[in-house]
Subunit: 321 residues, 2 copies
């Protein structure tokens, strides 16, 4: 059994190769560029871990992990076009560097290439694997659309927002684990539990991310605190605050959303605290984290095999703040 | 055995249903919209015809035909974004009606849905079918990128232009026929010949399209003659003329490319005729058409089974002008 960081290193080594031909260079250099920017590779490593929970790593898991990482990068390229994001990990986004049309096509070709890796596996698994992959990829698109829809709305219901986050960020982690489990020979019940483990972990991670953006220690968090507030981004914090705030507080929030004053962040944080949203989000995160752990508990394999996934959960979530 | 128009009618009936869920409506209505605009459905019907050349239609052929039509529409949505095209078949393009971000996502989700139909077939065929589908979809992306690259270049070699056209327009027709042939149980040689039949037919069709845009009878052609010339579009005619023209003619072409004078079309047509490009393109089209027919001839099945494909070739190519 390998730990997350060991599998991460192994995956990085295998993944660090060209995935596309040389020509046309205008297209394929753009596709290779985002892969070179790197990332935490959490999703592909989850495929490997989902597999290893049940059995020794099936060689096909490397193909599926590669497909997942290509799919993830395809969605990043297209999301960045839609969000008009200038930077990713401190470097110019694909469309900034190569133009929107080439970025669009580089995403398309990366999506096709993901399926290419999926067809390299044992034919006995192909149908199951591609079905789950398809469902998930459509869900991720739906999540992105809902996110854009919500940005246009003044108020969004918490449950609707939560569903969007699940689609946009959690299902890919959940499916990655399940894809690995399928290749490890897991039965339906175990597949269900590992999927739910990943889904709940994903929501907990997003809650933590939103919390840290507002209340994190900037020296530990590594990015500007209050970035979401400055960008008027809808987050779990804002959505919930708008639901629990009194009339006066709601008005104050609307004023802040329309303002660019220097004290925008500090005044919004004060409102969050007045509404006890900081405590609420920590508790909600804890609830999802516990639900994730319960599903991990319910998987019918020896506890020892669950250790790496438990460590992953702790690595992702029990962060210092 | 069915004719093209019979299969076309049958396909249209089966295809005229929702392919996506109701929600999120912002995403899926955009996807359904382009499918309702319609089209000639040449590619999906080619899947059915490629199948029927070898055997009775395999029920899986309808799934693959649907996947091909979804893929084709995915590529149209994304191409229209890149080309900033306002209209398709006289109606607003998806991005004009629903915005570029939703159009981008609607394309993505349509691409995923194409794979969804592909996974519904007999697992024994899935790997072969998806492999060819993947290769083809990457080639179509490459063709679109090369087309954009060439638009930025002053002069493009004929062979490079021809390769681009093959990728952008011919391989999908060729692959559609081959996918059907695979489902009909065709051997490798026969698969090769039907692919080449489609590929050469596709090139011949594009040559004819370019010819008709310049020299077609406007009352029969159904669109404005000279549209490509007005848009400075690189076509077989322009590419070849730039290769065979003398120095003076080349200068005249450059002047025309930079002009928007009322006589731009008539003067360019005169240059084409002076360089005998009208005759050249007719002969080249005939050459590709004959090559296509030779490949059809070489397919080892009874001639009677080839009749519908021969009719399709004649329908597409021996048009009145």
């Amino acid at each position: 059994m390998f730990s997350f960081s060991e599998l991460s290193k192994q995956f990085e080594e295998k993944f660090s190769q060209r995935h596309f031909p040389a020509a046309p260079a205008t297209l394929y250099n753009a596709a290779e560029y985002i892969l070179e920017i790197g990332g935490k590779r959490i999703r592909p490593v989850s495929v490997l871990m989902g597999n290893e929970l049940f059995d020794e790593i099936n060689p096909d898991a490397w193909q599926v992990a590669t497909a997942i990482e290509l799919f993830h990068n395809f969605s990043l390229i297209h999301d960045d076009i839609m969000d008009q994001a200038p930077l990713r990990r401190g470097l110019p986004t694909v469309h900034t560097k190569y133009g929107a049309s080439t970025a669009l096509l580089a995403g398309d070709v990366m999506f096709a290439q993901a399926y290419d890796y999926l067809t390299r596996i044992n034919p006995a698994y192909i149908q199951k694997i591609i079905k789950l992959f398809n469902t998930t990829s459509k869900q991720v698109c739906e999540g992105q659309q809902l996110d854009m829809d919500f940005e246009q709305m003044k108020q969004v219901q918490f449950s609707a927002y939560e569903s969007m986050i699940i689609l946009k960020t959690s299902v890919l982690l959940a499916a990655s684990l399940q894809l690995g489990a399928i290749l490890g020979g897991a039965g339906d019940r175990n597949q269900h539990h590992i999927y739910e483990f990943g889904k709940n972990l994903g929501i907990a991670f997003q809650l933590q991310d939103d919390y840290l953006d507002a209340f994190g220690d900037p020296t530990k968090f590594g990015k500007q605190v209050g970035g979401d507030i400055l960008a008027n981004k809808k987050t779990f914090l804002l959505i919930h605050t708008l639901e629990v705030a009194n009339t006066i507080q709601k008005e104050q929030i609307q004023v802040l959303l329309n303002s660019n004053d220097a004290d925008k962040v500090s005044r919004m944080l004060q409102l969050y605290q007045d509404c006890k949203v900081d405590e609420w989000v920590k508790q909600l995160k804890e609830k999802y984290y516990q639900t994730a752990l319960n599903h991990l508990e319910d998987i019918a394999v020896l506890s020892d095999r669950k250790k790496p996934l438990l460590e992953l959960a702790q690595f992702l979530l029990v962060r210092d703040y």
